[in-house]
């Protein structure tokens, strides 16, 4: 038995040696990007495309690792628990603020060092079914204000969806009744089946239904127009205040990661964001290229949170 154990030990050491010769140059082994939602959605798709572009720049494989659960908190925790060696990145978006707003976690944007923001998803549109017969946004808002709670806004409870509903009612004077219908797929189903009246949605997720005319994009929930989606006008064109629920795509890393490594990663991200194939992908999906790095990106994300989400915090908590 003893002999056996020593044989095993020797074998393990031998295998260990093969992997020791690294650590002088970053990156020298595969990098993981934690995607804090499950595989298959638009966030996951963006992550995988970014991974491909980063791979070309860094010369090592960049692998997407899905860690789902806890409204992106499980993934963020895993990134904070990982070695601060720059080999574990995390991506997130506006969703990262919600658990903190609700007080269910201490983790926030400032818990990480920001690498950068390579793209902005300015494609969130307010959608109604064509059979509902709303002429335009103004018509919808007026009908809703005339008969409070008669028009249902479907979304996911305890998520940015709900904050968006609060923001619209407050800024536009509408009186939508919020109803939980579930995630993106469920929202599309509910709208198709005419079970709910309006939803907010990323444009590319229901492209077919916009093409057939079944879905009607009433307005773009952003601060700037998206020239790739000409049929979705800003709320300001109807004389309302713009309610911005665009989504930035943020890449961060454990806060104890050395600055030299953060610099290398930020450089790589800047190059990856310019990769022609990555840009083509963005265009195809109506996404806006961006290239904000480190402190600039962190400040942008923080300001975005303060301007578009934090101001509705009290109403949001009260609605729970």
């Amino acid at each position: 038995m003893k002999k056996l154990i020593s044989v095993l030990l020797v074998l393990c050491m031998f295998l260990g040696l093969a992997n020791v010769a690294l650590a002088d140059k970053f990156p020298s082994k595969p990098i993981q990007i934690i995607c804090p939602v499950k595989a298959g959605g638009d966030t996951d798709r963006n992550t995988r495309q970014l991974a491909l572009a980063l791979e070309k720049v860094l010369g090592v494989s960049v692998v997407t690792v899905n860690v789902n659960g806890g409204a992106t908190v499980m993934g963020m925790e895993q990134a904070l628990d990982a070695e601060p060696d720059g080999y574990t990145l995390i991506i997130n978006g506006t969703d990262m603020f919600v658990p903190n707003m609700m007080g269910t976690t201490d983790i926030n944007l400032s818990s990480f060092k920001t690498i950068g923001i390579p793209l902005i998803d300015n494609t969130t549109v307010l959608v109604a079914h064509k059979d509902s017969g709303y002429a335009d946004l103004k018509d919808l808002v007026e009908k809703s204000a005339a008969q409070p709670d008669s028009i249902e806004y479907g979304g996911k409870i305890g998520a940015t969806n709900q904050i968006c509903g609060i923001a619209m009612n407050k800024e536009w004077g509408s009186a939508f009744r919020f109803q939980d219908v579930g995630n993106n797929a469920a929202k599309i189903t509910a709208l198709l089946g005419r079970q709910t009246d309006v939803i907010n949605l990323s444009y590319s997720l229901a492209l077919d239904y916009f093409k057939t005319g079944e879905f009607q994009a009433l307005c773009l929930l952003g601060s700037e127009a998206n020239e790739l989606i000409p049929d979705a006008k800003l709320a300001s064109e109807f004389g309302y205040k713009n309610v911005d629920f665009s989504k930035f795509f943020w890449v961060g890393v454990n806060p104890d990661t050395p600055d030299e490594i953060v610099d290398i990663l930020a450089d790589a991200l800047a190059k990856a964001a310019q990769d022609p194939e990555f840009l083509a992908y963005l265009k195809e999906n109506f996404l806006t290229p961006a290239c904000m790095l480190k402190e600039e990106a962190q400040a942008y994300a923080q300001k975005f949170y303060e301007d578009t989400m934090e101001i509705y915090k009290d109403e949001f908590i009260a609605a729970q």
Partner: protein, 509 residues
């Protein structure tokens, strides 16, 4: 149209070869407990980046078909479900294998997996758009009723004592409370453990309950056997030809397969409920309607045919919703959806109106994937049954090693290994006390959906249950639920009366 689809497919031999490879890969992933069709798809998806759209999607489709089918292999050989969709296959499949008839059991499973798949493929390629429209009429009210029916059927009609079945089910329900409450986004029952915030994941729970508990029971028996006895206990597996069943048996099973295929298809169509529930529901239905219910659990081939038909039929159902409406019903179909999007194709109504050629190529690929799966599994049968000639003492730990990999890689968290071990111990204790495990799994899967939909209904109706009673679909399902409950209670009372009478007779002697 379909013929044209086939013509397109066969024009490119690479496609056919890739379907064969995809089927095989799916079968292998499905056969390994802890790795499911979803894992296989997630892993294979990047491989399709460089393929032509039709080729890539056909490939993913074949991985899906293979992955859902492959679960029967470990279910029958080891009594451990290879995927969540093969829990019920264990009951009779493994019973047959312990009698030395693993070849026959697998033959039935392969054959009826194929029949279920082809049935759903035919429905898919003929009625898909129509069914898609009907499915859209399902609101939370109807969902609540359907889930209630599934939940009561499987737990009330479980093997053994009804009270124990219900207790096991409620245990599963209680465990599902852990984590984020879907209708408030606050956490419940986490007791301050941050790892519990995401709740328990299905994969580690399932393989813990079924696989780890198996190792523990075998270890518990270790000291009561001698090496010589252990050597003799390896069951000699009968060698057979064909699928191991006669024509008569086949025709007999076909009667069971009909309703099972329908159950699988309907369950597959409803987003969120998938092959796992279809598999168990079809088994329960077959058992209750069979002329020989007493054979169930002891190696009835009907008991293999029903669940295997149903889980493969659910694949076609899930594809109907994906292709016609662009809505992924479960994790596996959301990977296929991602595959579509990578190639710039959006599944949905336009796929049917604009790109007809593509749609029929996809249908043809789905049919071909089923046919090739049948052929591969058929030629694999003798090899699969050879697995049982490996000593269990070696085989089981290797299976557990794969379970570690499966638990970990399903969500990339080491904590899931702890979950798997904990449920292994729980499963072991429950088996010792004769509590059925299947109702617990069903409770765990369905309870969150029931709660979510019921609370959603009430949120919409502002606390009134009237809309549910006004929906004809919901009422139909509620009536069925009530019927199942009445039936169970009546037969339970009958059973205890009979037992009492038997006991009285005994004491008279």
């Amino acid at each position: 149209m379909l013929l044209q689809g086939f013509a397109n497919l066969f024009a490119n031999p690479v496609t056919v070869a890739l379907i064969a490879i995809g089927d095989l890969a799916g079968l292998i992933f499905g056969a390994i407990p802890g790795l499911s069709a979803f894992t296989a798809l997630a892993i294979m998806l990047p491989l399709t980046f460089s393929m032509e759209p039709v080729v890539g999607i056909s490939f993913l489709m074949s991985v899906y078909v293979g992955g859902v089918s492959g679960g029967f292999i470990s279910a029958i050989l080891l009594g451990i479900p290879g995927t969540p969709s093969s829990i019920a296959t264990c009951f009779d499949g493994h019973a047959l294998a312990t009698k030395g008839q693993s070849y026959r059991a697998m033959g039935v499973a392969v054959l009826f997996s194929f029949i279920g798949g082809i049935f759903s493929a035919i429905i898919l390629s003929t009625l898909a758009p129509l069914i898609g429209q009907v499915a859209l009429r399902f609101s939370p009210y109807e969902y609540t009723a359907v889930i209630l029916l599934a939940l009561t059927t499987v737990s009330a009609l479980a093997e053994g004592s009804m009270v124990k079945g219900l207790l096991a089910c409620l245990l599963g329900v209680s465990l599902s409370f852990v984590g984020i409450d879907q209708l408030s986004a606050y956490t419940r029952y986490t007791f301050g453990f941050r790892e519990l915030r995401g709740g328990f994941a299905l994969v580690p729970l399932l393989i813990g309950l079924f696989a780890v508990s198996q190792v523990l029971s075998n270890a518990a028996k270790r000291n009561s056997v001698t090496p010589e006895q252990a050597k003799l206990s390896v069951v000699k597996q009968a060698r057979m030809k064909g699928f191991g069943i006669t024509w008569k048996e086949f025709l007999h099973c076909l009667k069971t397969a009909g309703p099972a295929a329908a159950i699988g298809l309907v369950i597959g169509i409803l987003p969120g409920i998938g092959g796992n529930i279809a598999n168990l529901l079809a088994y329960t239905f077959a058992k209750k309607t069979s002329k020989h219910p007493e054979e169930f659990g002891k190696g009835s081939i009907e008991g293999i045919c029903a669940p295997e038909t149903a889980n493969n039929a659910s694949v076609g159902g899930a594809l109907i919703i994906l292709l016609t409406l662009g809505i992924p019903g479960d994790n596996a179909t959301s990977m296929i959806m991602a595959g579509f999007q990578i190639h710039g194709i959006a599944p949905g109504p336009l796929l049917f109106s604009s790109g007809n050629v593509l749609v029929y190529a996809i249908f043809a690929a789905f049919i071909l994937a089923n046919v090739i799966m049948l052929a591969e599994a058929y030629f694999g049968l003798p090899i699969f049954s050879k697995i049982l000639s490996i000593r269990t003492e070696v085989l089981l730990p290797v299976v557990i090693a794969f379970c570690f990999v499966g638990s970990y890689s399903s969500n990339n968290r080491i904590f899931d290994i702890a979950v798997m071990v904990a449920f292994g111990i729980l499963g072991f204790v429950m088996k010792r006390h004769k509590y059925p495990l299947a109702p617990m799994v069903v409770g765990f899967i369905l309870a969150p959906m029931l709660e979510e939909n019921l609370r959603r209904s009430l949120m919409r109706s502002q606390g009134s249950l009237m809309p549910m009673v006004q929906s004809p679909i919901a009422v139909a399902f509620l009536v069925l639920t009530a019927a199942v409950l009445v039936y169970t209670v009546v037969s339970e009372v009958k059973k205890s009366k009979q037992a009492a009478a038997a006991a009285a007779n005994e004491s008279d002697d």
